[in-house]
Symmetry: C2
Subunit: 428 residues, 2 copies
C-alpha cells in the first residue's frame, strides 16, 4: 500500500484515482446476444446457455422438487444464520415504509404523493465460486416488502445444470417462486424483452461480471431501469489511536478479497497507525485462501495521514466511499460531516462484514464515486412515487388566474384555455 | 384522432405505440463537443455559443445588475402568480421531508437511514420561444428544500446575449445565485466536467431538445446522474358520461400544443363521448396560436372505448401515462387501481395545467412509458439515502456467529475473519 503523509489538496485527485475501466469492446457481443434473444426467444437462451455455461438444459425453470432437495443439503446452523440475517434486513427495510404525503396547498387544492410498487422486477445473482445468497436476501426482501407483484430471479446453472442449494433455499425462504437457471448477457436480455419462458420486467437489480454490467447498460436503452451503475467494490477506513490495527487490517482485507480491482483506503490522523496496520495486513494476508486476489487489491490501495480533522473529512467526501468505517475518538464529527458514502460503519466492533450480511442494512451500494449522487438499494428502489391532485370548483377559482397568467407568459395558450373554459362556466 | 371501439387486448400494443425516436446519429457531434469542452474549458464554451447561439459573449455569468433590470420588466400580476405557484410547490415538497429511520435490529445492533443532499446539482432550462420559468420553479424549489449546497443554472442566451427577464426573476426568487448564459450540448458538457467559470455538478436536471437529451445521456457515461430519461410529453384522459367534452378537449389540446410528437389519448366507457370530444377539439383548435403543432399531435393520437372498467384500467396501466386525468363517476376505482402514471388529475375541475404550474405537485415526470419504473422529480431526487450502523460488543456477539457462517458459505474467509478476530478478543 502506498503511503502519503499530509498530501497537498492538489494531489488528492491522483491519490483517490479509481481504476478506470471501459467495456466498450464488449458492446458488439452484448448487442448481438440482445438481438438474438429478442428475435428467437427461448431458442436463443438455450443456445447461449450451451455456449457460455457449457450445459444443455431442457428447462430453465426451477421446480418445486429442486427446492425440497436443496433444503435437505443446508445445515441447520446455516439456516438459522440466514434466517437471522433475513429477519434483520426485513425489520430495517420495513421501517422504511412511509405514509402518503397529503395536504391542501390552498383551499380546494388537494395534493398527495403515494408510493406504489414497481410491478415487475428482475433479480440477477451471479454464479461462479461464491454463491451470493446474501445478495439475494438484500434484493428479494425489500422487493417483497414493497409489494412488487412479479419478482423474477435469474442465476446461471453450473456445468451440471444446477443452482447452488443455498441460493435455492434462500429464494424459497424469501417467497420467490419464479426462478430461472439462466445467467450472463442472455439472462439480462431475457428479462428485458421477455421470452416464452422468462417474463419481461421493468427494473433489473443485482451484481455481475463485466458482461452482465454491459448487458445492464444496454438494457437501459430498451426501457429498462437498473439499480445503479456498477464498479469495483471499495472501502475507506478512517482511524486514530483509539482504533485497533488488527481489526482495521481485517476489514481492509475483507474488502480486498472481493477482487483484484477492489480498492481499500486507510486514512488517519495518527500517522504511526499506517505502519501498525501494514504489519497486521502482512500477517493476516498469509492465512487467506483468496490471498492472491487480496494481494493485488492491496497493491493498488492507499494509506494517507493528515494532521487535521477538517482535511481528513474533506478528503473522504471527495472520495465518496461505498463502505466507510469510522474508528475515531471524535466519531460523531465524522458521522455528522460525511456527505458522500454508501454505508457507514461506526466503532471498533462494527466491521463491514456486519453490513454485508446481517446487521439489516442493504449491501447493494453505490461504488466508484457514485455515492455522491446515488442511494444504495433500499425500499424505495422497488417503489415509484406518484402524485395526485383533486381540485374543487373553489380550488380552481383560487389558483386558476395564476395559471392563466403563467401559461400566457410561457406562450402556451391551450394550457391557459384549459383553465379559462372552466372558470368561465363557474362565473355563470 | 383514430378511434378504436372495444379493441382486443392483442391490438393494444400497437394502439399504444409511442413515436419511436433514436438520436444515435447525434452522438458523434455531442461527443465532439464534450471532448472539446473537457480539453479547452471556457474557450470551447465561447466558441460553441458563437456557433450554435449566434452570439459572442464576454462572460457567461449573470450579474446582480441583470436581476435588478429583469425584475422591473415583470408585471406585478405575473410576479404574484409566480409567487403563488412557488408557495404551493414549496409547501408540497417540504411536506415530503422525512425523519431518519432508526432502530435496533437486534440488541446492540443500531441501524439507521438518513437522507443527505446531493452537494452539487445543475439545472438546465431550454431557451427558444417559450421561457419555461415554471420548470425552473419545479427544479429550484425542491433543490433548495433538500439543502443542495451548490445549485447551478444554465440557460441559453438569445442573439442579443440575454436571458428572458422572467427566468432571471424566477431564479432570483428561488434564491439562485450561480446562473450562466449557456445552452445546449456545451452547457451539459460544462456541468459534467467543470470549466474555469462553470462548476462541475453531480446530477443534472431539466428538459431540452434532442441535442440536450443526447448530451444528458452522454453525461451519464462520465459519472453524472440525470433526473430521468427523456421522451415526448403525453396525456391520457379517462372519462365517462359525467365528464364535460369541452373540458376534455381543452386538456387534450393543452398537451398537444407542446410538440408535434406529443401524444394524447382519450379512453372512455361511454362511447358517444368520442364524437362529442372530437367536435370540441375541432372547434377549439382553430383558436390556438400553436394550432399547427397541435394538429400534428392530434393526428397521431387515439380515442378508445371499452365496455368494462376492468379492461379500461388494464389498458391504462399498460400505457403508463405521464399525465393521467380521471373524469369518471367511479373515480375512486380509477385512482386506487392505477399502478403506472406520473401525475394524476382527478375530477372535472383538475386540468393538467394546474399541475403544470401551480397546484404544488412537480411537473417533471416520467414519460414514454417510464412511469412503470421511475418517479417524477420530487424532494428525494435531490437527496441520497445513506445507511449507518453502530454495533456494540454485545451486538457483535449477537450477530457475529451468523456472519461467520454466512461468509464461510460464500467462500469469503477474510469477511469471516473480520468478525472472528473481534469475537476472539471479546471471549478473553
Amino acid at each position: 500500500m502506498k503511503q502519503f503523509i499530509n498530501p497537498l489538496e492538489s494531489e488528492w485527485k491522483s491519490i483517490l484515482k479509481r481504476p478506470t475501466f471501459s467495456f466498450k469492446e464488449l458492446e458488439p457481443l452484448v448487442e448481438n446476444v440482445f438481438s438474438d434473444v429478442k428475435a428467437k426467444g427461448d431458442t436463443a437462451l438455450y443456445d447461449y446457455t450451451l455456449k457460455f455455461d457449457k450445459v444443455s438444459l431442457n428447462s430453465f425453470r426451477v421446480e418445486e422438487s429442486d427446492f425440497i432437495e436443496a433444503e435437505k443439503n443446508i445445515s441447520p446452523e446455516l439456516k438459522l444464520a440466514i434466517k437471522l440475517a433475513k429477519n434483520n434486513i426485513e425489520v430495517f427495510h420495513r421501517a422504511q415504509q412511509t405514509q402518503k404525503v397529503s395536504l391542501e396547498t390552498q383551499p380546494g387544492v388537494l395534493c398527495w404523493q403515494e408510493k406504489r410498487p414497481i410491478k415487475k422486477v428482475g433479480l440477477y445473482i451471479p454464479g461462479g465460486s461464491a454463491p451470493l445468497f446474501s445478495t439475494l436476501l438484500m434484493l428479494a426482501v425489500p422487493a417483497q416488502i414493497a409489494g412488487c407483484k412479479e419478482i423474477i430471479l435469474c442465476t446461471p446453472p453450473d456445468e451440471n445444470g444446477s443452482i447452488p442449494d443455498v441460493i435455492l433455499y434462500t429464494a424459497k425462504l424469501c417467497g420467490l417462486t419464479q426462478i430461472f437457471k439462466l445467467g450472463g448477457i442472455q439472462a439480462i436480455a431475457a428479462m428485458t424483452f421477455g421470452t416464452e419462458t422468462i417474463p419481461e420486467v421493468y427494473k433489473i437489480f443485482g451484481p455481475g461480471n463485466q458482461y452482465v454490467t454491459v448487458a445492464k447498460q444496454i438494457a437501459t436503452q430498451h426501457q429498462i431501469a437498473i439499480d445503479m451503475p456498477a464498479g469495483p467494490s471499495e472501502l475507506l477506513v478512517v482511524a486514530d489511536r483509539t482504533a485497533n490495527p488488527a481489526y482495521i487490517a481485517s476489514d481492509l482485507l475483507s474488502q480486498a478479497e472481493h477482487g483484484a480491482d477492489s480498492q481499500v483506503i486507510l486514512v488517519t490522523t495518527f500517522y504511526p497507525l499506517l505502519e501498525l496496520v501494514k504489519k497486521e495486513i502482512d500477517l493476516q494476508i498469509k492465512l487467506l485462501p483468496r490471498q492472491e486476489i487480496a494481494k493485488q487489491a492491496i497493491k493498488n490501495s492507499r494509506m494517507v495521514s493528515f494532521e487535521t480533522n477538517e482535511e481528513t473529512i474533506q478528503f473522504i467526501n471527495q472520495y465518496g466511499p461505498e463502505h466507510y468505517i469510522i474508528c475515531m475518538e471524535e466519531e460523531q464529527l465524522y458521522v455528522d460531516q460525511i456527505v458522500n458514502a454508501g454505508s457507514v460503519f461506526i466503532g471498533n466492533f462494527t466491521p463491514e462484514s456486519a453490513g454485508d450480511y446481517a446487521s439489516g442494512t442493504n449491501h447493494t451500494l453505490p461504488t466508484n464515486g457514485y455515492a455522491k449522487q446515488y442511494s444504495g438499494v433500499n425500499l424505495d428502489s422497488f417503489l415509484k412515487q406518484m402524485t395526485f391532485q383533486k381540485i374543487s370548483k373553489k380550488g380552481i377559482q383560487n389558483i386558476g388566474p395564476a395559471i392563466e397568467l403563467m401559461a400566457e407568459a410561457e406562450g402556451l395558450e391551450a394550457h391557459k384555455n384549459a383553465v379559462s373554459i372552466r372558470l368561465k362556466d363557474l362565473k355563470k
